[in-house]
């Protein structure tokens, strides 16, 4: 069975209506959409805006690999859409949209969560937080996790 995929990395705003339409398929019983948005604070520190950067061709390859893995794990998947925004994003903006269409909701939820979790760990995309107090720093979730793992050893 064929699975429709569509990937994009763009400076322009990304659209829920568009990814929904791309994920729409007569064999779907469910479409799960994950929308990642810019939060107004990190650990209590007020955030002004974020700046996203991507190694675009490699990030698109990673999206492709994520889709291959989803098709192996949930073989009835009909559609996988991943759109990521880069550049300057303000509070409330959508930074990423992942839509997965499947015959049943269970696999659609699982596959969508798998996609966003894997994207966050592997895709060469970075964000810099600009705080209200003028400080800015590159976010490194992966590094925090590695430090936690190391301290538990």
């Amino acid at each position: 069975m064929t699975c429709f995929t569509n990937f994009a990395i763009t400076f322009a705003p990304i659209s829920i209506a568009e990814v929904y339409q791309l994920a729409d398929h007569a064999s779907n019983g469910a479409i799960v959409i994950m929308s990642g948005t810019v939060r107004n604070q990190t650990e209590g520190k007020p955030v002004r805006y974020l700046e996203y950067q991507a190694y675009e061709p490699m990030a698109i390859n990673i999206f492709q690999q994520i889709s291959h893995q989803i098709k192996e794990k949930w073989q009835d998947t009909n559609s996988i859409i991943i759109h990521h925004r880069i550049g300057k994003l303000i509070i409330g903006d959508i930074s990423v949209l992942v839509a997965v269409g499947c015959p049943h909701r269970g696999e659609a939820f699982c596959a969508c969560q798998y996609a966003i979790d894997t994207l966050k760990h592997n895709a060469p995309i970075w964000k810099k937080e600009y705080f209200e107090d003028g400080v800015s720093s590159w976010v490194s979730i992966g590094a925090c996790e590695e430090l936690i793992i190391n301290s538990q050893k």
Binding site: Q53, Y55, I125, W138
Partner: protein, 87 residues
């Protein structure tokens, strides 16, 4: 007598690397049969401010993650991937 042949590689810089270098990419001439970890060492030597990122940086060659001992070839595109934070 052995002669040291040089190869040319392109290094893509992102996030903290791009900020420290103030450039999106650089070109390096290195000895052939260099491993990708040797390139990271050169970069860290050139910009000691990046030292704390060394052990957290993953390496990619021609858009694929590779192990540190991967041998680079002339014309390869190498990317230094500090901890990612997409999504």
């Amino acid at each position: 007598m052995t002669r040291d042949f040089l190869i040319t590689v392109k290094i893509k810089l992102f996030a903290i690397y791009q900020e420290i270098y103030q450039q999106e990419e650089i070109t390096l001439k290195i000895s052939e049969k260099s491993q990708v970890k040797d390139i990271l060492k050169i970069i860290i030597q050139e910009k000691p401010a990046l030292k704390k990122w060394e052990n957290l940086t993953k390496l990619a060659v021609n858009l694929e993650f590779v192990s540190p001992d991967f041998e680079v070839k002339d014309g390869d595109e190498i990317a230094l991937i500090p901890p990612v934070s997409g999504g």
